[in-house]
């Protein structure tokens, strides 16, 4: 781990990629001939977040208070050389890990939860509402809300709610109020339960419930991924990594991360897009949710109910119910528009890994680094292992974003044994 002045590593501005994209980003659109779904964002999203979402400053100053909270929750996160993993894979290059699991909530999600909660509280909100898949986002929101003296209500996708009861306890410990989704608290949830009482839920469904709940109760809503503003907040991962590499005298040649909605990956790689070197960037996702290979690139809804606007992105369809894999954070039909564009034009490659291979990768990783990574991050790890095995003599410096830790996901190993 690097032991130097942390203030030098922690950036004072976020980076927004939009101004540096090769093509213009298509704006969000409403389904109908009015723009009510865009207008409704005004009611549920803090004004400052909306401003960041639509007006794209290349660099946005991180408020002092947010920087202070970043330090409290464990930023900057460490950059670690995984020497034993290199040996295990007989890889000739270096493998470095940016360990976002090192934050107090155990994932990168806190990076955007803090500013979103901060702006909501600054604008007078006393309570926020959101959805969560695997629970990392909900955990981050619960803490970020408490740190900003607010309450939080969290709709948790049913399959994860059932699989990960400890997650619920953690969120409650941080002050959150957790509900299984589909729930009986919204019309959308009631409708789904009437059709299928055993519905495992999905992130798209939980987003719809959270938005409906926020609208009905006049609360601020926080979105964990996909939006430009969220990816900008997450740029802190890549900006820190760049600085840490610079201090170490290293240069990244391959960047690998996992993709659910695209925020940890975008936040990690976008700050490297303008590097002079042509860095390889690989987005790893679940073969059970093959959005980049089987999804369509076009306008689709962010959420299953179609309350929020449509975005131009890769999507398996807003009605797609992903299989109940452990990597709850990857169970989402779409991906951030900026990331989708860069995958489509070939600047960023994609890889798909199935659950059995991920479980195996997590084991190797735990035994060589000591880190119990989140299953989502396991996809990135598996992709990195594939890369190392395919190119053993490559000697390229690979930086892997380990988006979270997996201490609450240990039941993933029950299926196969250790």
């Amino acid at each position: 781990m690097l032991r130097i002045d942390q203030d030098e590593i922690l950036p004072d501005k976020w980076y927004n990629v939009i101004s540096d994209l090769p093509e213009p980003l298509s704006p969000p659109i409403s389904d109908s001939n009015d723009s009510s779904s865009i207008e409704l964002l005004n009611r549920i999203i803090p004004a400052e977040i909306l401003k960041q979402e639509f007006t794209f400053n290349r660099y946005e100053k991180i408020p002092d208070r947010v920087r202070e909270l970043y330090r409290i929750v464990g930023r900057p996160t460490p950059l670690i050389r995984a020497g034993k993993l290199e040996e295990e894979l007989r890889y000739k290059g270096k493998i470095l890990l940016k360990y976002e699991g090192g934050t107090v909530t155990g994932s990168h999600k806190i990076n955007t939860a803090i500013p979103q909660a901060y702006y909501a509280s600054l604008e007078g909100s006393r309570s926020v509402v959101t959805e969560t898949g695997a629970g990392q986002w909900g955990t981050a929101v619960a803490l970020a809300a408490s740190l900003n003296h607010m309450k939080s209500r969290i709709f948790m996708v049913k399959v994860s709610y059932d699989q990960k009861p400890l997650r619920k306890t953690v969120m409650e410990l941080y002050g959150g109020n957790v509900v299984s989704s589909p729930s009986q608290e919204t019309e959308f949830g009631l409708g789904l339960l009437a059709k299928d009482p055993k519905s495992p839920g999905s992130l798209g469904i939980a987003i719809s419930e959270a938005v409906e709940y926020a609208l009905k109760n006049d609360l601020k809503y926080m979105l964990g991924s996909v939006m430009n503003s969220v990816l900008a907040h997450q740029s802190i991962i890549g900006l820190e990594t760049r600085k840490q590499l610079e201090i170490e005298g290293e240069e990244a040649e391959v960047l690998i991360g996992c993709v659910g909605g695209g925020s940890n990956f975008g936040g990690f790689v976008f700050p490297f897009l303008k590097s002079s070197k042509d860095i390889e960037m690989i987005a790893s996702t679940a073969s059970e949710i093959p959005k980049f290979s089987k999804g369509e690139y076009g306008y689709d809804f962010l959420d299953s109910a179609g309350i929020l606007p449509k975005l131009k992105m890769y999507s398996l369809g807003a009605g797609f119910i992903p299989p109940g894999i452990y990597s709850g954070g990857l169970r989402y039909h779409g991906a951030a528009p900026s990331l989708s564009m860069l995958i489509r034009n070939g600047r960023i490659q994609s890889d798909e890994v199935g659950e059995p291979e991920v479980i195996n990768a997590l084991k190797v990783f735990a035994r060589t680094t000591g880190i119990i990574a989140a299953p989502e991050s396991g996809h990135a790890i598996a992709t990195a292992m594939r890369y190392a095995r395919k190119n053993p003599a490559a000697k390229k410096t690979m930086v892997l974003n380990v988006s979270g830790q997996g201490n609450f996901d240990l039941s993933i190993f029950n299926k196969v044994g250790l």
Partner: protein
């Protein structure tokens, strides 16, 4: 600060539009943008979209020619606002047709977003017909793309403040003005697509903006056929911009 007004051709009907244009020409308007009705004016907000629906049935080439001729005779420059999606099938013949109408240039709001890969071809089609492109740039236009299309342009650039008109997401005029100026440099910038009120016009004037465009705000007068209200509004705008 110059003033540009936007009208959809054929809205609310050709007679009322004529009356409004006459009021505009008597009240110091420098430019008029005329929107060709489209079945899919996707980057306009709900209010302007409605005008396209109504105008579809009223549009006539001859009426458009007359309007442009009359505006030009009063010293007002006219610009065509055209959604490529509605003319792409027969782009060359459309451009050939309107090249004789007397427009000073054309604004294509969907060019950079939906026709980016075919942009050069479209730009050469415009050149062939001698039609000037007025680039339509927004805060989401990447800098390199904006710089390229601006280099192809004539005197002025249309800068949309929002990704779509008529929606009211928050923004800071000062920040957007600074960003637009940084990319566009010394060319004239016309700010529109999201101007809501007189204080904003005053603010842009104080920031040193070259010109502004107003569209959605005029609809309340057009709908009511309220030329008196329209005239009073223009007088207010004139005070704020001078």
């Amino acid at each position: 600060m110059k003033l540009t007004l936007y009208f959809t051709l054929g809205y609310p009907d050709n007679e009322v539009l004529d009356e409004f244009l006459e009021v505009a020409s008597e009240n110091g308007v420098e430019r008029v943008e005329l929107g060709f009705p489209s079945a899919d004016p996707r980057y306009d907000g709900p209010m302007i979209k409605r005008t396209h629906e109504v105008a579809m049935g009223n549009y006539a080439d001859q009426a458009t020619k007359n309007i442009v001729k009359r505006l030009n005779s009063c010293g007002i420059k006219a610009y065509a606002l055209v959604y490529l999606n509605s003319v792409m099938k027969s782009l060359d013949s459309f451009l050939e047709k309107i090249s004789s109408f007397g427009f000073d240039g054309i604004i294509l709001p969907d060019l950079l977003i939906d026709y980016f890969s075919g942009m050069n071809q479209i730009l050469s089609a415009l050149k062939e017909q001698g039609i000037n492109i007025i680039p339509f740039v927004t805060p989401s236009t990447p800098d390199a793309v904006a710089r390229y299309v601006i280099s192809e342009a004539g005197k002025w650039i249309y800068y949309g403040l929002l990704p779509s008109t008529g929606i009211t997401v928050p923004y800071s005029l000062k920040e957007l003005y600074g960003r637009a100026r940084e990319i566009i440099g010394s060319k004239e910038i016309c700010f529109g697509f999201g101007l809501r009120n007189i204080p904003q016009i005053r603010e842009l004037n104080e920031l040193g903006a070259d010109s502004i465009a107003i569209g959605s705000k005029l609809l309340e007068f057009l709908e009511q056929r309220n030329t008196g209200g329209f005239k009073a509004f223009l007088e207010e705008v004139n005070v704020a911009r001078n």
